[in-house]
Amino acid sequence: MLRTSHRLLALPVILAVGALAACSSGDPAPQGEGSADAEVLRVGTEGTYSPFSFHDTDGELTGYDVEVVTAVADELGLEVEFSETTWDSIFAGLEAERYDVVANQVTINDERAAVYDFSEPYTVSTGVAVVAADDDTVTSLDDVAGLTAAQSATSNWSQVAKDAGATVEGVEGFTQAVTLLTQGRIDVTFNDDLAVLDYLKQSGDTSVKIAFETGETVEQAFALRKDSELTARIDEALATLRADGTLAEISEKWFGEDVSQ
């Protein structure tokens, strides 16, 4: 009886030790400690947004934004360290100083510029509306009023949809929005034409189509905390990479054209 009760009390301890042993080899890479490290550029990105930031078949993080920010870090002589998080938490992580730069096709707009620093843009794209392939009723922003759109809550496309008079449902990202579209649960979703073209190309999905372009050009840049000392240095690196053709080269690789200006 005595031994038994000891064993009972020891059970959680054994469990804990066993679990610790099990994960000692599999701990995720430690994040930096709050402040900007001189040696490391700490980057926040989604890791699930192709072709900008995603995992290839070998499980390696890659994509246009990942390569651009890596080139910037190289230019600055820094190691690059990625933290992956969902889009809707990406700014929370920036503010909580879990990383110092967001590299994830962040569109420059006034609301964000009021709160964050932006680097010079490294992508210029246009917004498109995506609808079901058999839907011919939506041909311009005027047709969107009263429809249901799905967007990730904090994206600029969510604002575009709201401004057009749509009811906006929150989703994780573009791919979920497309699923809802093909299932007939929503009418429309807005996104970056580059992301949409990549989706149509990679997936071979013929159940959705681009209805129209929103007509506004949007610029994407790296977002940093207000008054970050890194912003000027990143701009300098971007200027160098633009001048020597590196940006154009990375862009050609992912999109077959230069979308960096």
């Binding site: 038994t4 066993g18 679990a19 099990a22 400690e33 078949t57 992956e84 997936s203």
Partner: protein
């Protein structure tokens, strides 16, 4: 289902299992172990005659049970840094899940202790045992048997709740599924696969539960 989809399933199983083994499973085991110790302490505090002690325990249980786990996770991961407390993703998840298990399991353990007949306490006192000894050698062993089914429930729920850690940069099973799905756009396939892996883990645990119950039957006064 095309041949491509089957190829994707075959090539995804490895990464998904690695997500489970490196993320989901250690997260569950560590959090449950810490949570259980915490729960025992909180349960005993709840049963304490000292008003302050039982009051603190009551408040803790109330907060944990009265707020969503996802919100608790976000507070620990995103809000604490503004007070200068920056915890890495994995430990943040462990802290949140342990606190959560501590709150729920405390009530289970308290109920289990109270379920042991009063006569058992009295009998222990007559043979000269003090409170601590009675608790340790007479009451708890019997309470444990009563607590196993509801605690197993908590444990199995925890396995699935760890998927919430995918929202705070922990690469576990669900996040792995999303990573694989993103470039292929095969979300349906990957989510289904992830569901199967979760289910298998829980099947193993349910089997363990039955065996544990049988073993602990010896401690119950019949």
């Amino acid at each position: 289902m095309t041949g491509d989809t089957w190829d994707l399933v075959a090539s995804s199983i490895g990464p998904l299992l690695s997500g489970a083994i490196r993320g989901t499973i250690p997260l569950t085991l560590i959090s449950f172990a810490i949570g259980l110790v915490l729960a025992l302490v909180v349960a005993l505090a709840r049963l304490s005659r000292r008003r302050v002690v039982s009051g603190v325990a009551r408040a803790y249980i109330s907060v944990i049970r009265g707020t969503p786990l996802l919100v608790q996770l976000f507070i620990i991961f995103y809000a604490l840094p503004s007070f200068g407390v920056v915890i890495d993703p994995f430990p943040s998840a462990v802290v949140a899940f342990s606190l959560n298990v501590g709150g729920y399991a405390a009530e289970t353990i308290r109920a289990a202790i109270l379920s042991v007949p009063k006569g058992q306490w009295e009998a222990a006192v007559t043979v000269g045992m003090d409170h601590t000894l009675t608790l340790r050698r007479v009451v708890l062993p019997q309470a444990v048997r009563v607590a196993v089914p509801p605690l197993s429930n908590t444990f199995i729920s925890l396995v699935k709740d760890t998927s919430l850690a995918s929202t705070i940069m922990v690469t576990e099973l669900l996040r792995k599924a999303q990573e694989i799905a993103a470039p292929t756009y095969e979300f349906m396939t990957l989510y289904s696969l992830a569901a199967v892996v979760y289910w298998l883990i829980c099947l193993v645990l349910s089997t363990g539960q039955s065996q544990l119950e049988r073993r602990l039957d010896r401690f119950v006064a019949h």
